[in-house]
Symmetry: C2
Subunit: 303 residues, 2 copies
């Protein structure tokens, strides 16, 4: 099916008749619990809940939720143990999809890296948000709003590759990638973001990212508005039509992400990709739709 | 009068019965010309148009505008001369408000600094955007989306002071200033934005910015949403109630500004402050309302 909205992601998760097992750490939050039981109720998920059993029961009761036999509580009252065991479960086959509960994203990432680095090297994790673009009638991707702080050029190429993989999995053909900065031209040496953007584009076009069209630097408006790109005479295949927005560093990515969320009320799904399977990273400030969409997205991406 | 929206700024400019003379460089763009003649038609402005006379006439005709005797064309076909002369006019008393036309903002800033540095030192220019906050029923300020690239802590304090002066002039009492980052806590040494935010807050509270409450670091949602701040247990007077958002560097400021503009369709006014008088810096991608509001804001701020 064609996936053109965050709502379609949930449909896609339900459509295949497949079932994924979620590995949730510290689900001690009503909204997260609602999202997990929602995924179970939609029929595409079962869940292992690693946490404090009485607290899990209380959270479910407070939220007016009934825990069915699709959810299994595993007693791990210590948050660190809950995280470690939830990561372990996605490696030993008990579960496929890791879901972050009421713990810091950084702790989950650390546990994940610790576990996976033991198996193989070359792993690179990044945060990808998928949202209903306020300017398009389709999905847009934003990266990295949550993990990589000040990525260098090599890391930025990896961030692009991770996001392109997500876009392709969502059915986009040759996604258009815009490397964001404050302006569309190179300013040497004052604006490093513009230099990095140009270099990443050049590297991507040399054959390193053949499945996508990468261009930059872009001011945001010229990346997503055909009208703005025309006015500013910003040419190129990506101008005004970007599918993937790549922030120069975490502040820009995070503030843009939060702006969509808080100022525009946009629905989105957030995952961390680059591990064996995507990790769903719902945040407590997410809407219930966004939380459920994050879980559905992680499932759909895991194939 | 109380100024609670961008629309109110235009009302305030009209209300006083005062008249400002605009000094516009290279007004060779229909939208900019509309905004300038609009300000004249509203009765609060006269205009000196420094540019290419036939091109100015053609631009006005193409836009269906009639140039009244409130607008005076001064022949300066060369863009650099147009800029220099428009800056000069705001110093020799022929005009009060500099308005950027179809030239790069950086060229105008350079001419302005060149001129003003001759008179006095200690000048510090910064970009301030004023917009109808999508989450409040009042105005919000954002700085710096357009001039200072990677300000150090001393520059960030000056950016705060400039924005606070604008907020006070708009009638805000003890404005609440949020220093933005990707997270709300200090991460040493990895996240410089969080360290700068904390230090600027500390300096401001030591008496350097007595007219405002400055706090940080803030993730955007916790700065502007009381609900998010509560969920994340982000305490303090500024949490969820920020009047002024201060970006850690230009990429974050510019992308947030463009996000409001492109994704949220927010109306705003943009000025450069720190010179003798504020400079209106409309951009061609601005809506007609935003362009006119930028001119009105510069007038209102000039007192």
């Amino acid at each position: 099916m064609e996936i053109r909205s965050v709502g379609d992601i949930l449909q896609a998760a339900c459509a295949g008749g497949r079932e994924w097992t979620l590995s949730v750490n510290a689900p001690h939050d009503e909204a997260i619990m609602k999202a997990v039981t929602g995924a179970c109720a939609h029929g595409f998920a079962r869940a292992l809940l690693f946490g404090d059993p009485p607290l899990i029961q209380k959270t479910a009761a407070d939220a007016g939720l009934e825990l069915t036999d699709r959810a299994t509580i595993v007693s791990r009252p210590d948050p660190k143990e809950a995280i470690d065991e939830s990561v372990e479960a996605t490696h030993d086959g008990r579960a496929q999809i890791l879901v972050k509960g009421l713990v810091p994203t950084s702790s989950v990432i650390r546990a994940l890296l610790h576990k996976e680095l033991g198996f193989r090297s070359g792993r690179f994790l990044s945060h990808v948000a998928v949202f209903d673009a306020p300017v398009y009638d389709r999905l847009m991707l934003l990266t990295d709003a949550g993990i990589n702080i000040t990525p260098n050029v090599q890391r930025k190429v990896q961030i692009v590759k991770n996001a392109v993989r997500v876009a392709l999995a969502l059915g986009m053909k040759r996604p258009k990638v815009a490397m964001l900065a404050a302006i569309d031209t190179l300013r040497y040496p004052a604006m490093q973001a513009t230099l990095d953007a140009a270099l990443v584009s050049r590297i991507a076009r040399s054959g390193v990212v053949p499945e996508a069209v990468v261009d930059g630097p872009f001011a945001l408006d010229n990346a997503v508005s055909i009208e703005a790109a025309k006015l500013k005479e910003r040419a190129g295949e990506v101008a005004g039509r970007a599918d993937i927005l790549v922030a120069p560093e975490i502040e820009t990515g995070n503030v843009l992400y939060k702006s969509l969320q808080t100022f525009c009320g946009t629905t989105y799904a957030s995952v961390v990709v680059g591990a064996d399977n995507p990790v769903a990273v719902p945040s407590r400030v997410d809407s219930p739709e966004s939380m459920l969409a994050s879980i559905a997205l992680a499932c759909v991406l895991s194939g």
